[in-house]
């Protein structure tokens, strides 16, 4: 039963990792852009929520009403104002510009909030648990997070495959040049894409900050976890990313069971093993 428990806890952990990964996956899929500042945007969302909850007295999940639009605008503006200008220069400009953004966000947060660790408080749900079969109890909160991840991916699939906007996203992802010749305004579309990605990044940021302490330097590890989930699952496949998150979560749970300090390292090792043995991931779909 011990192993089943680890499997379940680890799988639920995969939910938050999949949520981390959605924004990264979107910006790579549509703009071919790996956003080095992605993890920092997750943390930035948490800080925005902190400010909103302290200012309005709202609980963190309700604060999403404000945090989500704010982060959407941030994403739209950054893509439109900065990142759109890096897309034609090859590999280095987008990577180095997002790297610069990462450093600016981290140090800006440090200057604004100090290095103290923070947490968002949602109340009873954080520790509530339900008993399921075999004497195993699972936390309500991780279950909720996993459900949010599934819902998020499902709604994105709906967007991509059932709407005109999604059709435009897929066309631009296939062939940006021809898409423009068909009347698509690529620049606006990319900005919209990052804006939408930020919606999910904001949700991920708030949800993670309720259970985990964070500080201005918490971004990079989030980027790495998101990245590992995407690579394990396989590029270009959102449901694959969910599975990637689950694999990562389970690996971490196994590591944590051996010793709590081994948790993150165990995840890295699982990632490296998959990278060496099956470099295109478990369920790859994309032509890169």
């Amino acid at each position: 039963m011990e192993w089943l428990n680890i499997l379940i806890q680890g799988s639920l952990l995969g939910g938050i990792y999949a949520l981390f990964a959605i924004g990264l996956s979107m910006s790579f899929g549509i703009m071919r852009l790996v956003n080095i500042a992605h993890g920092d945007f997750i943390v930035l969302s948490a800080y925005v929520a902190l400010v909103v909850t302290q200012g309005t007295g709202l609980d963190p999940i309700s604060s999403l009403i404000i945090v989500v639009p704010v982060m959407f605008v941030v994403g739209y503006a950054i893509q439109r104002g900065l990142l759109n200008h890096t897309l034609s220069g090859g590999l280095l400009p987008p990577l180095l510009v997002t790297f610069g953004i990462s450093v600016i966000i981290q140090n800006g947060l440090l200057a604004g909030f100090g290095a103290y660790t923070q947490r968002l408080h949602e109340g009873a749900i954080e520790t509530a648990s339900v008993q399921i079969f075999g004497g195993i109890s699972i936390g309500v909160y991780p279950l909720v997070v996993f459900a949010v991840a599934v819902f998020a991916i499902a709604s994105l699939q709906l967007l991509f495959y059932r709407t005109g906007l999604g059709r435009a996203f897929r066309a631009v992802s296939d062939d940006a040049d021809t898409a423009e010749l068909m009347g698509i305004d690529n620049r606006k579309l990319y900005a919209l894409a990052l804006g939408i990605a930020m919606i999910f990044t904001a949700i991920a940021g708030v949800l993670f900050a309720i259970r985990t302490i964070f500080d201005p330097a918490a971004g990079p590890i989030r980027l790495i976890l998101a990245f590992e989930a995407v690579i394990i699952g396989g590029l270009g496949n959102m449901w694959g990313t969910l599975i990637g998150g689950v694999v990562l979560g389970v690996a971490q749970a196994v590591g944590a069971a051996l010793s709590p300090t081994w948790q993150i390292l165990a995840g890295h090792i699982a990632f490296l093993v998959i990278l060496i043995v099956r470099p295109s991931g478990l369920f790859p779909r994309t032509r890169d």
């Binding site: 400009p93 990577l95 790297f99 450093v103 390292l265």
Partner: protein
């Protein structure tokens, strides 16, 4: 008739050599006319310059944009501390081993990360560095989370008194910096450098011409790791303490280095010099204002990437066609033969 010839030097580079030599001599003589504070600053500039040249070689020439070089700084540092501490090895011998040790670790690392391309490669190298940092924090003999310190006995192996020890450490930093710059310069001047530039410009095209792209990139990656490891060992020899956070700090060893190369001019040898000077100047000027200089450097790096992607030096080259470290070759054509007298 004068034959065509291939010219390597430029007028500017010849002038530069004449100016640089006495400057270098002055720096070497610093222990005799300067104080410990100056030596520390110049030593720091020296090893940052070396790290920047190496990152430039990797990213600007070989096209391997690594955000994980801090792994080798930490590996070199930890190798030195472990060998001199737990293994009681002589400090100079440990220094000699630290570099190759880092290079050796780079071999299996490359098997993993070379499977990734572009920005994914970058994040992959970062993950590797995190793996090393986490591992170091879990291994007891490496001091786990709190790290290791150098004992006075180890320091005395360099020299029994403080003054000459500072001088020796300073001269070693200067030496490694000069050596790294020389190696990079000579490498880029050679046909291997030409191969690198070709790979950077177009991997498929250069492969079709017979350049073994994988082997070239592999050798550059491992060699750079070894040099970075040696520099890491020297850095921490002077810092006297190492911990997982400090040894594998992306902020200290990678962020700053990347900014230097980008702002100075990626893909040029002169660029890292300029970038390093910009960084040190900014840092010293803004030291009282906390990490604001990092925010400023971030903004400058972004502006450079958007407006002048070849950096400050790249801009200079475009405006003035100047090269202080010429790595190219120019074909000097024979002057046109004067026309023969008319045939008619």
């Amino acid at each position: 008739m004068e034959p065509e010839r291939v010219e390597r030097g430029t007028k500017a580079s010849r002038t530069f050599t004449v100016v640089a030599a006495p400057a270098l001599a002055a720096l070497v003589a610093l222990p005799w006319w300067g104080d410990a504070g100056w030596m520390r600053l110049i030593a720091e500039m020296a090893y940052y310059l070396a790290l920047a040249q190496l990152w430039n070689l990797l990213a600007g020439y070989a096209g391997l944009v690594s955000v994980g070089q801090q792994a080798y700084v930490g590996l070199g540092g930890y190798a030195l501390f472990y060998l001199t501490g737990a293994q009681n090895m002589n400090v100079y011998l440990a220094l000699a081993i630290a570099g190759p040790f880092a290079g050796l670790i780079a071999i299996p690392v490359s098997f993993a990360v070379f499977r990734l391309r572009g920005a994914y490669f970058a994040v992959g190298t970062w993950v590797m560095s995190e793996v090393f940092a986490l591992s170091a924090s879990l291994i007891a003999v490496l001091g786990a989370g709190s790290g290791l310190s150098l004992t006075p006995a180890i320091l005395r192996q360099i020299s029994p008194d403080r003054g000459s020890r500072d001088a020796i450490l300073y001269l070693m930093s200067l030496a490694i910096s000069v050596v790294v710059c020389a190696i990079v310069y000579l490498l880029l001047r050679s046909r291997h450098g030409l191969a690198l530039t070709a790979i950077r410009d177009s991997e498929p095209a250069s492969a079709s011409l017979g350049v073994n792209t994988f082997r070239t990139k592999f050798i550059i990656y491992v060699a750079t790791a070894a040099c970075t490891g040696l520099i890491g060992a020297l850095i921490f020899l002077q810092k006297l303490r190492i911990s997982p956070e400090a040894g594998f700090s992306i902020n200290d060893w990678t962020v700053v280095v990347i900014f230097m190369v980008v702002i100075g001019g990626i893909g040029t040898i002169e660029g890292p010099f300029i970038g390093m000077l910009v960084y040190i100047t900014l840092r010293e000027l803004l030291a009282d204002y906390g990490t604001i200089y990092l925010i400023l450097m971030g903004m400058i790096a972004i502006a450079v990437m958007l407006k002048a992607p070849s950096g400050i030096w790249g801009w200079v080259v475009q405006r003035y066609d100047l090269q202080l470290f010429p790595v190219g070759r120019r074909l000097v054509l024979a002057p046109p033969t004067p026309p023969q007298t008319s045939e008619r």
